[in-house]
């Protein structure tokens, strides 16, 4: 059935969980029709009635067409989505974009590096790795946040940290009272965590400069650039490659991204105002 690509599909907020002072996770259940299955790294266009649409990465993929999105309130639309209460109906279009190449990492080490809200798009990749744990050798998650209260999924972080076969490193830019963990930017642990460079697949997600600096650190340790993926972001409106807003040089990020291999991304990230 060929539906109009602009037609949102109704989803009801089943649950809302506050993550930090400006972000919340919504669990959305299809009202009737389901969307195709999302893959880690892909995004949906979430529509708040009368206000607008924004691209939000999928942050968990349970069964039954249920969608989980973590939303940071940074503009009019995301503020409306962020404050949507259980029972509210949102429009969803998707899945759009490219996925984290979890298959490429099989047989080797998986390193996930998340900065700030960047943990949200990486969480489904980590869950996938944990569900197929024997397909990977070392699995490492490095998380950076502004302050301890800005960390997403804190109970899950603690759970992952407790697992014997996952290494979790958490660091914050600014400590708070009672914080006994690392204080510093994500590139610092990347410089010294145990790493088998040539068998590592790294997936980086966070503010663009953070990904650039992390990539540089990893390349400096011998990780080949083909082994690194980043998640890039630009203004997105249609999600289907017809509005032109999400261009980054030769890429249409809604179609050729957001997940982009580092050899393609690096020259583009280095051009000012591209």
């Amino acid at each position: 059935m060929a539906t109009d690509p602009w037609l949102p599909v109704a989803h009801r907020v089943r649950r809302r969980r506050v993550e930090t002072k400006d972000s919340a996770t919504l669990v959305l259940a299809p009202v009737a029709d389901r969307l195709p299955v999302f893959r880690p790294g892909q995004f949906a266009m979430l529509y708040a009635h009368g206000i607008g649409e924004v691209p939000i990465s999928i942050s968990d993929i349970p069964a039954g067409g249920v969608l989980v999105h973590t939303i940071r309130a940074v503009g009019a639309v995301s503020r409306a989505l962020h404050s949507a209460e259980p029972g509210a109906v949102l429009g969803v279009r998707g899945p759009f974009g490219t996925a984290w190449d979890v298959d490429r990492a099989e047989g080797g080490d998986l390193l996930l590096v998340a900065g700030g809200i960047g943990l949200a798009p990486l969480r489904p990749a980590l869950r996938h790795a944990l569900e197929h744990r024997s397909s990977y050798r070392r699995v490492t998650l490095v998380v950076g946040a502004r302050t301890p209260s800005d960390l997403l999924y804190d109970d899950e972080l603690r759970h992952w940290d407790s697992l014997a076969d996952v290494d979790v490193v958490v660091t914050v830019d600014h400590a708070a009272d009672g914080w006994t963990g690392r204080v510093g930017v994500v590139t610092e642990p990347l410089a010294s965590i145990p790493l088998d460079a040539t068998r590592t697949t790294a997936m980086l997600c966070g503010p663009e400069p953070m990904m650039r600096y992390c990539a540089r650190t990893l390349l400096g340790r011998g990780v080949p650039d083909e082994g690194v993926q980043v998640s890039l972001e630009r203004n997105m409106q249609c999600g289907t490659g017809v509005c032109g807003h999400c261009q980054l040089g030769p890429l249409l990020l809604c179609r050729d991204g957001p997940v982009v291999d580092l050899p393609v991304a690096t020259p583009l990230m280095l051009v000012k105002e591209l």
Binding site: R72, V74, A145, T180, R182, S192, P209
Partner: protein, 156 residues
Amino acid sequence: MTSAPMTELDGLPLLAGLSHDQRAALAGIARHEDYEPGARLFEEGRLADRCWVVTAGCAVVDTDIPGRGRTVVQSVGPGELLGWSWLVPPYRWHFGASIAAPTSAVVVDALDLRRLADADPVLGYRMSRILVEALLNRLQATRIRLLDLYRHPDGD
């Protein structure tokens, strides 16, 4: 207080640029220390006379701010250097430091380090290179933190 075993120094990426003999020379003046959480390594203003390489656990650099209390500015994890003020006059610590988790470290007295460098200028030069690179990495990381990349677009 025990001598730092060669295996401990051999396992440090920080010292990978040194030859076996050079690492052995360092081992001669280094010692292994274990610390419990809460232990205080140095205080702001006191004489800065040694440096640490953390091999496991976590040390933190802090300062006291009236009204905010003791505030951590930086953590130092496995493979990283703690303590720089011994390098330049007036050889006084600029910050304080304590231990945040059960920690092991290799410790070297500044005086012993300077004597070793004077006696073996080649080793001294190599160690300077190591220190400069570690300092540069710390500087760049600090600059990245100053960018406040995760802040809300509205500024707060």
